[in-house]
């Protein structure tokens, strides 16, 4: 406490200049009925040394994925982030600045975010990107409400959007919370047994305001049919595609196959998983959505001398100007994490991103080879392509298998019963650039051992 308050011990001197004699005088305007009296029932203040000791003890008791062999992904991925990213974002000029309302002294962050917009725009193949939303789920939800604002009038299916039935329930729940106020109806798009979207079911979505699908989808499938989707749903229905950004090093940018809005969890580019946040949501769109999109946008401009300069622009969409008619309530976003993303993208370059995507997919492909060979284990979507994760069907409950793997130091994946109640035996196994060949072999060996213990003969 002492080290944070420069005026401790100088209260009397400062109060005297105001004609006051006690700190209580500063609160004379607060009625006694609402005053809190006595000391807050909380522990005593600690020194920095005590705080870091407690932090090391408590956080040290968590199981960091790096201490184990991990195949847990399901939306957040343990990709390597170069050291220079962590070093640079601790620069106080970035770290301790606020939203750049005074552009003359905020050119650094403004230009960095304008560059971020460009990097994302190029990545997803759409001309416009904002400078981040909270996460992939809120980006998807905001994309849906945006599609209704844009297409609401012309849509034949009023206030209706279609969402892939595979969408994880937690993401769906976010969408429902964002959509209920505008009375938006969310209908489901069905999938084929191989995990790809059922394109004939997608015909039902024609005339609605928007369609939300993911590429790769939540069970890891790269869906070769999605490039046909825009033609099926038509010009006046927004195609919204959620992406894993690293996949776009080898997978076509959705903007190039008809997507109107691309969203996604930016986390694998630039950010550790951090328990699920802070991370950042990607939001990019085509021109018709620009004036009704959420979030902050930086534009390049000039100063009074005609010199290149950057500032926030199109703010009339936002809550501080438009209040209850704003396109979104978002104010604080995830700028610093987006900056980490920009730094990582800059370091990768186009070829680096390609190589990174290949490394992720190679690990997944090796995993597929090894796990498919296990007696008693099958891959329900084996014929499909997978980017970095896939489903295995086990000869018993996935939760049991995970408990066994945990006992031998392996974080084995994600129990899909938590998403799909009728799939107790499905395990989602994820791979990243951090997955080593020997780790994948270890996983396969232990799943084989566990499967054998389930009464499956070798």
């Amino acid at each position: 406490m002492v080290d944070q308050l420069p005026n401790l011990g100088r209260e009397a001197e400062m109060l005297a200049t105001m004609g006051m004699s006690s700190m209580e005088d500063l609160f004379s305007d607060i009625p006694e009925e609402v005053r809190m009296r006595g000391t807050l029932p909380l522990p005593d203040a600690q020194s920095e040394e005590e705080i870091i000791a407690d932090a090391r003890r408590l956080l040290g008791s968590n199981v960091a994925l790096g201490e184990r062999v991990s195949f847990l992904g399901a939306g957040l991925y343990r990709n390597y982030v170069p050291a220079s990213v962590f070093q640079l974002i601790t620069r106080g000029e970035f770290l301790t600045s606020y939203t750049p309302y005074q552009p003359e002294v905020s050119q650094g962050m403004l230009q960095a975010m304008w560059e971020f917009q460009t990097l994302i725009s190029e990545l997803v193949g759409l001309p416009i990107a904002n400078l981040s939303l909270y996460d992939g789920s809120t980006a998807a939800a905001e994309a849906i409400t945006c599609s209704v604002r844009v297409h609401g009038r012309k849509a034949t299916q009023k206030n209706t959007v279609y969402v892939s039935e595979l969408t994880p329930p937690d993401r769906m729940s976010v969408m429902q919370n964002y959509c209920q106020g505008a009375e938006i109806k969310i209908k489901m798009l069905r999938h084929n047994p191989d995990g790809t979207l059922n394109l004939s079911s997608a015909k039902e979505a024609a005339g609605s305001c928007g369609v939300y699908v993911e590429q790769p989808n939540p069970i890891g499938v790269l869906d070769g049919g999605l490039p046909l989707l825009k033609e099926i749903i038509g010009e006046h229905t927004a195609l919204i595609v959620g992406v894993q950004p690293i996949s776009l090093g080898i997978v076509e940018a959705p903007g190039n196959y008809g997507a109107d809005i691309v969203v996604g969890e930016g986390q694998p580019l630039g950010s550790p998983i951090t328990g699920g946040g802070p991370i950042y949501g990607i939001f990019a769109c085509s021109k018709p959505y620009l004036r009704l999109m959420p979030g902050r946008i930086v534009g390049r401009s000039i100063d009074v001398d005609g010199k290149e300069a950057y500032c926030l622009t199109l703010s009339t969409r936002e809550q501080h100007i438009r209040r209850h008619r704003a396109t979104s309530n978002i104010c604080t976003n995830e700028t610093l994490i987006a900056l980490m993303g920009a730094m990582h993208m800059a370091l990768l370059g186009p070829e680096g991103l390609h190589d990174l995507a290949v490394r992720n997919m190679a690990a997944c492909t090796l995993g597929k080879q090894k796990l498919a060979a296990i007696h008693g284990v099958s891959l329900p979507h084996q014929s499909s392509h997978h980017f970095q994760e896939f489903v295995i069907e086990l000869p018993g409950q996935a939760s049991d298998c995970l408990a066994y793997l945990d006992s031998v130091g392996i974080v084995g994946g994600f129990d899909l019963a938590r998403w799909y109640a009728n799939r107790p035996n499905w395990l989602l196994v994820s791979f990243t650039d951090q997955s080593r060949a020997n780790e994948i072999e270890l996983l396969a060996a232990h799943i084989e051992a566990w499967a054998a213990s389930q009464g499956v003969s070798a």
Binding site: S28, P82, Q107, E122, G276, H320, T332, L353
Partner: protein, 499 residues
Amino acid sequence: MSHLFDHHGAPGKGYSQPAPVLPATEISVPSSLVRKQAARWPRISEPEMVRHYTWLSKRNFGIDTGFYPLGSCTMKHNPRINEVIAQLPGIADIHPHQPEHHLQGLLSIYHEMQHMLEVCAGMDQVTLQPVAGAQGEFTAVRCIQEYFRLRGEDQRTKVIVPDSAHGTNPASAAMCGFEIVEIPSRTDGRIDLDALRAVADETTAVMMITNPNTLGLFEADILEASAIVHDVGGQMYYDGANFNAILGITSPGLMGFDAVHFNLHKTFSQPHGGGGPGSGPIGVKAHLADFLPGPIVKKRPIMGDEAKHAIEDMWFGWYEPVHSIGKVQQWHGNAGAVIRCWAYYRRYGNGLKTMSEHAVLNANYLRHALHREAEKAGVSDMIVDGAETDVAKHEFTISLGPAKESHGISAMDIAKGLLDMGYMAPTVYFPLVVPECMMIEPTETESKETLDTFAEDFAKVLQVDAETLHAAPITTPVRRVDEVYAARNLCLRHPYDED
């Protein structure tokens, strides 16, 4: 100038990567999905990249650079130990889907933070799920909406906000589907109880208000306002943006509020990072607790072989409230921000009241110093208080209305003049109810000397002639930026030559 997209070096030289675990020839993408043209990203080596971002950082102003009296934003010092802690693998390298027995340390910190916020706010249950202040508002209003739905009170379709409210209040309520009823403030900047009585009725769902209000004034009539809203069956919502003024001094619970959000990035010093991340937990009274988004951490006795993973004699478990509105973001809140704010809280413990006292001391001291220095310089007739009051809370407003009228000098001119003196400008033109408004919040982490010097420099700026001020700033990396040009000539990404 340094431009990222001017770098066209050798492919992939920003950082080197190991070989894939299988040759690239063994992987395949569906033919319809093969990427045809790579993203036109720069090709930049690590030394060039480090220099580019360092150059950019030097063109940016943070709290570390200088005094940052941005009203409503609580730009206090960000202790660096919090950054060190947030990089520990026990937070940076954990996944929200890991089982509880992998995350006992995280859960115990969540539990401690929930409890601390409950104590400080006088609320019964806190959830750490929302990731920003505006999201906290949205979440709490959604909870109240579901509370009324369950009670069959569907006729409550309106949310009341004062005209001095943050823009996020009406925006968040509108996103939930509520109709917004804005009530005017009194001429002294405080809530108009008659105006409130006139609109409060059986269609009222919520009143959203912050106290101290956006003028930095404590609403002494808050209990009466709460009574008016409760009498018609509505709920009181506390916008915690100004919470830094009242820890240990009063609480939303004592003032009659039913729900509150916290801006941990303001009160508990999560660095603002140029616009985020934040963290926006909410707290509610018991009758709303079942509607909160989970997971929430609860303590319970240890069962079975949990003992080998336990870090104390109780187990910390995730819990989903029975009527939960569901999720507002997909994961477990901004855990990394919660950890930083936990470290900040630990520095004060039960001394948080001292923190708030010093925030209020500094604001009042600066308010007096500004008037004193303006008086000395003979320019006291250029500024007036945004609202009449004996004491302000953690921030205060002044109006440059007189300066505008007599000298043609606007609040924006003064703001730009202050940039030339090496300061971040205060918030300008908010709240809208004060003409030519400047909203000033020094925070508790500024020394008396800094406040004195700022007051002297402010008086100096007031003495500068209008023509010079219209041309300010002149010492910044760029001079006044043409925001109209930016909006009329939209350039939202790098224009590639070949496009």
